[in-house]
Symmetry: C2
Subunit: 209 residues, 2 copies
DNA sequence: TACACTTTTGACACTTGGTGCCAAAAATAT
DNA sequence: ATATTTTTGGCACCAAGTGTCAAAAGTGTA
């Protein structure tokens, strides 16, 4: 669904003429200059010195050029899950032990700047905002909550959707910042903290439209 | 951005050959039969007895055929805002007096069924999940919070993004239901309620990756 | 009725994202 | 050398979306 596909095991066959990662960087620069919609795949291909067809093989769709780094976040969660003791955990543990470390990845200096540049472009084009990567994330989290988190009031799918959405909202907000003021993790906590004020009323809610 | 554009004031000129709403219904039926991607705009145009060009004039993009009903939700918020006393409100009031009534619109019987059908198709195609309508919603809510809600710990943009996201997650989850079990509003409250458990820990959070 | 005006319609050509297919290129293994 | 493997790129094609423009189909006025 995004750059760097399966790495060929055997040393045989014609080698890559270019690393997908480099192509994504070329595209990013072009997008920043001319805007996402102002750049055609043909232009990217030309600047990256590959054919249009090859470009589409490296990045099945144009949006993948910007969303390519998204699985790295999900990968962190998956790694942590592997190293998890069997049995159920609380929702708190789920958020703090699995989700927070994944968000922390964005705060790593070498990635933060690149991620911000990508996310700013994504925010500028509503068509880019959602993506298969996010969808996959929701499904994965829902599975995880269903199987590994002790039962909650709300159903797993709803929880996964909510939490993932808040996380993404935090990421988007963070991306607008210039450098330091707040980390992704702090933004995430801050969002939750403010939501607590609202949810504290949930019990006594009268749903009279 | 979606069906039914500006209604022509003067009675002059050639009348519409078809109501956009009817076209959207035709499209919805086709999508349900063949899947969103399995139906071309040409097929929709033919079945609706308009030209392809006219179809694109009524619905600037294919996704608008499904997202067309979205502004109705936002309209409710806008109406309520107009009738609002001057001065600031709390975040609770913001959620319960402005957002909840808007969500309640989806629970109206005549719309619920149609909305579910649309949303199920939207969920089935990741490419459809986000849309300009959602983006607009986030921006609008951020503006609203900034101007009309008393200051919170988290910045307005982050709050707007989080709350809108949770609302949308609740809507998506609700759409999967068959008929009655829970209303959109109840799902929204339920999501918040479960998030409260997590956010209660926010104060003592140690952000050690 | 005739004419002006207004608005919608549909036809055509064009750009762009995306895909299927296949032969050529470029490497390795025997 | 030759077979095998893998990437490349050219070509044709489909579908979404846009600009342009003349024709169609109504209303208002003389």
């Amino acid at each position: 669904m995004s750059g760097r596909e399966k790495v060929s095991k055997s040393k045989r066959g014609r080698p890559r003429s270019i690393e997908p990662q480099e192509v994504a960087v070329v595209a990013l620069q072009l997008f920043e200059q001319e805007g996402y919609e102002g750049v055609t795949m043909e232009q990217i291909a030309e600047k990256a010195s590959v054919s249009r067809r090859t470009l589409f093989r490296l990045f099945p769709s144009k949006v993948d050029l910007l969303w390519g780094g998204a699985e790295e976040i999900l990968d962190v969660v998956k790694e942590r899950v592997k190293a998890l003791p069997s049995g159920k955990m609380t929702l708190k543990e789920f958020v703090y032990d699995l989700l927070m470390p994944a968000l922390g990845r964005l705060d790593e200096p070498w990635l933060a700047s690149l991620a911000r540049r990508r996310l700013r472009l994504i925010m500028a084009s509503p068509a880019l905002l959602d993506h298969a990567a996010l969808h996959e994330m929701r499904l994965f989290l829902a599975d995880l909550i269903r199987s590994r988190v002790s039962p909650q009031k709300a159903p797993p799918e709803l929880l996964a959707g909510s939490i993932a959405s808040v996380a993404f909202a935090a990421i988007l907000w963070w991306a607008q910042l210039d450098e330091s003021p707040m980390s992704v993790q702090e933004a995430f906590i801050s969002a939750f903290s403010s939501l607590a004020e609202v949810s504290s009323l949930a019990q006594e809610a009268d749903v009279s439209a």
